[in-house]
């Protein structure tokens, strides 16, 4: 499977995701933000970091960059797109995903391992997980507080477009288990065609037992499935 990782100035999880993809036998290429052509890819990853410094709204400038038009075109023609952390923020800026990521409720950057629950395991990204499986995954963000309007929220629920929710060890999605104030504990969502996934937690950080755990591996093996 061929993957492309988009590199913006200020991306800083680009190497991490490339290492994870290569470990999982993807044929990966890095694509520079000033490029105007995407190599042929089955998967496009928009990685974490602080694109263009994120001095404006997170992801706002990346959402208008040269390469992003190509990402939008590819996504609209059905290519798989995964946005992690800043990548999720960027995807909401492009309109490929609806909703937005507000500042964390406590107004602080948060880095820690949290539990998330797989709500939909019938997607290209999650088919190797069990339904309601609880994963321990690292988050690292300042703006991860997902928010959207009621109409979109209803659609997310009705169409089964919520991929992951924050939860406690027993899978309960209560407020104590919600690290950043996200609406209904939402940690990751899909578009209506389910070829685009945006998520705040970092699966690429969870592919190696000596560093953390392997809870992120199945996201990549789902894509290979």
């Amino acid at each position: 499977m061929k993957s492309s990782v988009i590199v913006f100035p200020g991306s800083n999880c680009d190497r991490d995701i490339a290492v994870a993809l290569e470990k999982m036998q993807f044929k990966n290429q890095m694509v520079w933000h000033k490029d105007t052509k995407l190599p042929k890819s089955d998967l496009i990853v928009v990685p974490g970091g602080f694109s263009y410094g994120d001095y404006l709204r997170s992801g706002a400038i990346a959402g208008k960059s040269l390469i992003i038009d190509e990402v939008i075109k590819a996504a609209n023609s059905g290519c798989l797109v995964l946005g992690i952390c800043n990548g999720f923020q960027i995807l909401t800026e492009t309109g490929l995903l609806k909703g937005t990521l507000l500042r964390n409720k406590n107004l602080k950057f948060i880095n820690k391992d949290v539990q998330i629950k797989v709500l939909n395991n019938e997607t290209k990204f999650t088919n190797k997980y069990k339904k309601d499986q609880i994963l321990k995954i690292n988050i690292a963000h300042n703006e991860g507080n997902f928010f959207t309007d009621t109409k979109h929220l209803d659609e997310l629920k009705k169409e089964n477009l919520i991929a992951f929710k924050y939860c406690d060890e027993n899978g309960n999605g209560n407020q104590e288990a919600n690290p950043n104030g996200s609406l209904e504990n939402i940690a990751g969502i899909l578009n209506d065609k389910k070829n685009i996934l945006g998520m705040m937690p970092h699966p690429e950080r969870m592919v190696d037992d000596i560093i953390s755990n392997k809870d992120g591996i199945n996201l990549f093996s789902s894509l290979l499935n």
Partner: protein, 726 residues
């Protein structure tokens, strides 16, 4: 403009220093030249008060590739790998403007590391604040923590370890020390020494603004009630640009274009150009019209003294300009040839085709003043504390007091604000004795830790100096690393005060003795004097940052108990030293007497033999015993794991308080499987290591035989409460 006494004074130069300047120039300087002298001759850049003492530190060893004097120290970790690291203070700017001060402290130390060709792989910090009840402490703490996180998180380098301490001595002068660690190829280290004539001098990175002018001079003076007015001397950080600069520099470093490279840190363009020229015994000619400026009508004076961040000076090989420029264009950074190397041995500055300043390089570097300041020896404080004269206290209450105190409370509310995982090589995150970082794509790792003990250093600097080196050494050992070398950040008061200078001299003597004995050389560092306000000096606070090597990374070792019913051994002798202890300070507000003695021989033997046990895979968890004594260390192991422990009553030392809270050095707690006991005890006995069987781990309860029994969950709560109510 005529240089008056007042102008000289405003530049932080003493009248006699001004006389020397005139003698060296054989004329009066103009204002630009005076500014340059002030930037180079201040304490921060010249090390004029510390130099004669620093010379005594051991800086050599088989493991050392580059000792002090470069942007950072470099050590050999085997194969073709080198580790580049340094710690630096940003105390004064952080007190004036906590967010930017701390952020640019991180940015500055990162540049020191990647300037040498290393990709930064870890950040650490040691931050000291005043009394939590002091009205300024809370906002300073918030600002500093956000600043450290803001910079490190954005540039994408994990902040993996650190210490946060509170003491009223820092009420009006906080300490912010940042350490960066990088990885480089051994044969690809870049230095600042200029070589060759007529080589292009290139300015890269951010544009020059009016921020930070005279920052280094500001950091070389005490604060007074007008400190707020110094805000414009604080620089503003831009981690995004630094990320670009880092990537561009590392890309350019892949081939052989660079002769020498130096970051523009304190005293900006002035110190970077003088440094390069002086090391290469060359002259430099700069055309200041070409300096990329952020603001209109900047004068040569402002350009030379600006401390705008994220800038570098590079001397390139002939014919490499075009290729190098292409890289910097790709990253949207300025790249301008602003001058050349000359054989004049002078710094010549041109502006609008006129020479506006010309100073012999040696006048700014080797001829800068060096002071052998007077100092007085600290008298040993012989008084001892008799427990029987103090109000009786229950062990449980004393322990709770310590675990819930600001200094011993759990600090995850700070470390959770730092990205510790980015780069995906953090094996052990903060919270343990040391952090562990894997070398990318290899199965070896380094361990890193920063430590300080200001109370010990205040009460008896010689012992205090030894103690911090030993504690730092122990912290690396407990995670299974062989300690290799240190960097030090020496935070002291006003060096013109003989008592302060004595603290400095004696702390350094202590550091020297410990480093020599442990073969633990100093490879880089920084001195920060004039920490104080209105003649009130801070406690002497040397901070030690150590790096150790884990040759073969298997399961990382930390201080968290691993299972129930394993044996607990205490390595090292317990004498029950309570003077200067956390027990007396937290429970009785007593900080009298001497710090615990350091026996370097015991330190070395105990540490090296523990490493042997670790290498043989016999240790489940280990922790060094430091502030708060045995009971605090055991509680920390419980809290980290959720397992409890049952500790026997001591057979020898009868006073339980002394046994549990004494801060005797060279001690470690180790957890071992019961069926390994014989093996472990044999090795310890064979090597003449003193140890005691102190108890065993168990589920749920932390227990001292017939004295105390607490649920571990409660201990956890006690340890995590303070911040929630702060």
């Amino acid at each position: 403009m005529k240089i008056t006494d007042q102008i000289v004074d405003k530049h932080g130069l003493k009248p006699e220093e001004y006389q020397s300047i005139k003698k060296l120039l054989k004329r009066e300087p103009n204002l630009l030249e005076l500014g340059i002298f002030s930037a180079m001759w201040n304490e921060h850049c010249s090390y004029k008060s510390s130099r004669i003492h620093l010379k005594k530190l051991p800086t050599k060893g088989k493991q050392v590739i580059q000792g002090p004097g470069e942007n950072a120290g470099v050590i050999d970790i085997g194969d073709d790998d080198a580790i580049v690291f340094k710690i630096e203070s940003h105390n004064h700017p952080s007190y004036i403007e906590p967010y930017q001060g701390a952020a640019t402290g991180v940015g500055g130390i990162l540049r020191d590391v990647f300037t040498m060709g290393a990709r930064p792989i870890a950040l650490l910090n040691s931050i000291h604040f005043g009394d939590p009840k002091h009205p300024k402490t809370k906002s300073l703490l918030n600002g500093v923590v956000s600043g450290i996180g803001g910079y490190g998180n954005c540039i994408g380098i994990p902040t993996v370890a650190g210490e946060t301490k509170f003491n009223e001595t820092y009420n009006e002068n906080i300490l912010v020390n940042a350490m960066a660690v990088g990885h480089a190829k051994k044969n690809k280290i870049f230095y600042s020494k200029a070589k060759g004539l007529n080589k292009s001098v290139v300015y890269v990175g951010s544009k020059t603004g009016r921020d930070g002018i005279h920052g280094a001079s500001m950091a070389s003076a005490e604060f007074d009630e007008n400190s707020e007015e110094k805000k414009p001397t604080v620089q503003v950080g831009d981690p995004f640009t630094e990320k670009l600069l880092m990537e561009a520099c590392l890309e350019l470093m892949k081939d052989n274009s660079i002769i020498s490279i130096q970051d523009m840190g304190a005293a900006g363009l002035t110190s970077s150009s003088v440094e390069m020229a002086s090391k290469g015994s060359l002259g430099l000619e700069l055309e200041l019209d070409k300096v990329p400026c952020r603001e209109d009508n900047m004068t040569p004076y402002e350009m030379m003294l600006s401390e705008s961040q994220e800038r570098m000076l590079i001397i390139l090989e002939d014919g490499k300009e075009k290729k190098a420029k292409k890289i910097f264009d790709k990253w949207d950074l300025d790249f301008v040839v602003i001058g050349k190397t000359t054989n004049t041995n002078k710094l010549s500055l041109k502006f609008n085709n006129k020479v506006v300043g010309e100073i012999p390089i040696e006048a700014l570097a080797s001829k800068a003043p060096i002071y052998s300041r007077k100092w007085i020896k600290k008298k040993p404080r012989k008084n001892t504390i008799e427990l029987k004269n103090l109000k009786k206290i229950k062990i449980e209450d004393a322990l709770i007091k310590i675990l819930s105190s600001p200094n011993h409370s759990n600090k995850t509310w700070i470390t959770n604000q730092y990205d510790q995982m980015v780069m995906c090589d953090t094996v052990q995150r903060s919270g343990s004795d040391a952090a562990i970082i894997r070398i990318h794509n290899k199965d070896k790792a380094i361990a890193v830790s920063v430590d300080s003990s200001a109370n010990y250093c205040k009460s008896y600097p010689l012992t205090g100096g030894k103690q911090i080196v030993c504690e730092n050494w122990r912290n690396l050992i407990t995670v299974g690393a062989k300690p290799l070398a240190i960097t030090n950040c020496l935070n002291f008061g006003n060096p013109e005060n003989q008592e302060v200078m004595g603290e400095f001299a004696e702390c350094l003597e202590g550091i020297k003795q410990a480093c020599e004995f442990l073969n633990y050389p100093v490879v880089s560092g920084n001195v920060s004097f004039y920490n104080g306000t209105n003649k009130k000096n801070i406690y002497p606070t040397p901070v030690i940052g150590g790096v150790g090597l884990i040759k073969k990374l298997s399961k990382p070792l930390n201080h968290s108990f691993k299972e129930a019913n394993s044996s607990l051994l205490l390595i090292g002798k317990t004498f029950g030293h309570l003077e200067q202890s956390c027990f007396l300070k937290e429970n009785y507000s007593i900080d009298e007497g001497m710090p615990p003695e350091i026996n370097l021989l015991n330190e070395k033997n105990n540490g090296e033999n523990l490493l042997k046990l670790i290498d043989k895979n016999l240790i489940l968890s280990s922790h060094d015993v430091s502030s708060g004594g045995l009971i605090t260390a055991l509680s920390e192991m419980s809290i980290a794991s959720g397992y409890g422990a049952k500790i026997f009553k001591p057979k020898k030392l009868t006073n339980l308080i002394k046994y549990l809270f004494g801060e005797d050095q060279a001690r470690y707690i180790i957890e071992i499987k019961k069926n390994n006991s014989t093996k472990v005890e044999k090795i310890l006995k064979d090597n003449d290591i003193y140890y005691e069987n102190i108890g065993y781990t168990q589920r749920n309860f932390f227990e001292i035989e017939s004295e105390l029994k607490i649920n571990v969950k409660d201990l956890f709560k006690i340890n995590n409460e303070w911040y929630n109510t702060y």
